[in-house]
Symmetry: C2
Subunit: 349 residues, 2 copies
Amino acid sequence: MTRELTVSVDAMGGDAGPGVVVAALVRAIERHPEIHFLLHGDDVVLNPLLAAQPRLKGRITLRHAPERVTMEDKPSQIVRRGQNTSMWRAIESVKKGEAGVAVSAGNTGALMAMSLFQLRTIEGIARPAIASIWPTMRGRTVVLDVGANVSATAEQLVDFAVMGEAYAQVVFNMERPIIGLLNVGSEEQKGNDAVRAAAAILRSSKLPIAFHGFVEGNDITEGLVDVVVTDGFTGNIALKTAEGAAKLVSGYLRRALKRSLLGTIGAVFAAGALGTLKRNLDPRASAGGVFLGLNGIVVKAHGGTDEIGFSGALSLAVDLAHADLNARITADHRKLDGASQEQEQAALT
Amino acid sequence: MTRELTVSVDAMGGDAGPGVVVAALVRAIERHPEIHFLLHGDDVVLNPLLAAQPRLKGRITLRHAPERVTMEDKPSQIVRRGQNTSMWRAIESVKKGEAGVAVSAGNTGALMAMSLFQLRTIEGIARPAIASIWPTMRGRTVVLDVGANVSATAEQLVDFAVMGEAYAQVVFNMERPIIGLLNVGSEEQKGNDAVRAAAAILRSSKLPIAFHGFVEGNDITEGLVDVVVTDGFTGNIALKTAEGAAKLVSGYLRRALKRSLLGTIGAVFAAGALGTLKRNLDPRASAGGVFLGLNGIVVKAHGGTDEIGFSGALSLAVDLAHADLNARITADHRKLDGASQEQEQAALT
């Protein structure tokens, strides 16, 4: 894995600002000696930060962008008048073929709107999806869509299954990830029209997809399957509800330990173990979301990330570009189309 | 609160069986001296259990039901040929006016199908909803619908808001519960058509509802509002995902503590505190779901409940019947209709 690659980076996104991004670049460069970075942002801010890091010399090209996208910018507006922002320029480098992948910690809605506008979807795929990686009892699971769309047809859910499979193959280094479709029950007759129709397509398809069937909400963290497919409305709510529940349990625990002297003593003894717990649940450990289904890969780092989290997002971007994720998605999608046409022809003859 | 009341109970539902139900009745009778119980189930099984509890004498009427609903029974089939089951009979007692409320720990889908078939929805309300109570950082929150339906129109979401408000008034003993609508963002333009249209109705309505606006998944456990309204597909998945996430965090904690000697020592010292944590997350502590919007109240105890959980469900049933929950829902719904008509008339003149 020492092929040359250019990674385009939005230096101005996220809560922490360009200082965190530059620190993350220093870490990433140690890990990936083959990578060149194209950094987009305000050169008045960035020049002194880069000058203070001699190890970045020769590995980074700075491109000045006079404006930045804020967390308050509305996607529909910023996509029309945001051409001078560092976020727009970071995506533009992928569109122009200057970079193999783009990374930003900025406003998710704006990043999706700009990515969709500039890169467009892969031929045959109607809608992009945001894929996230969840910790589970058995390891990790890809969940998509967690918020690119507010609904999904059966055909779009099938597209998400194809994209999620390719993504899991790369990030989990696994040949045949098991796919599940999120529903309110595991029986065939359960759910709304879209999930039932999507399941019918996935079951009958000649696409070599390992389709488990329906999974329920609790099956995600059980790690029952490697990829959980759902619409962006349900997926976004499930993701945030899970984060809330995890926070609630951690909060209970802290309060419960503080309530008694023995608990307080116990907490001191257990501090190392509690630190392990915290690391396992650390949002930095997951690298944020990845936008799938576009003519170019865009990695969204967590908005509140630090340098460890952002360098994780950079590493993920490198892996996805090296593995040629989009070529896999396109190839798998063609197989799906072929299988559907064969089925239609078989039905006609 | 010493008005007479009859509570109809399905003795054969749930994983634990009639022994748990009878033990729960003993607990409930101590707490509610004004209650009479109508117990439906197999008298060969129940007679010896009741005979062993002299305190139940004179407080319980046993009605033999030769059959029972299993967890495997499909709602669509059992509703057609389940008239001899204890579950059917328990609901029938409410329909006939013999009992003010029914309680069962059995198959949720079958219980909903039978309740809907026998009791029908309240006039003007198209669909029933299942309401659940979640623990939060600040106390408790009602979430509905968590699984009666697989979709909801804007008008149905508004009905759920009215039903959820009345339910929260009773169980939280609160005059003006704050209502939130679950969505993928808090801004007005976010979400699908149904949630946006429902929000518009709730905002403009003259109904004295305290509508907060949109809430996100993590706001549920934050306790941002008292009632969270959503469709049954999203609500069911959110509920089960939250349960899964809570289990994952507890699991991490146990493993983290066991990993080191200090952690193990700490766990011994912290055992009391961890016990408190377990009680807070105990599914028995929440009494299961309540079916709202029907001509009669049906309380669904948790399928895996024990006698403490089932007696909690009985207490909840008593509270809801005493507070005349359905009269509140009907009155609030009329106000909503009145307000809509006034708005329409105002628009015409």
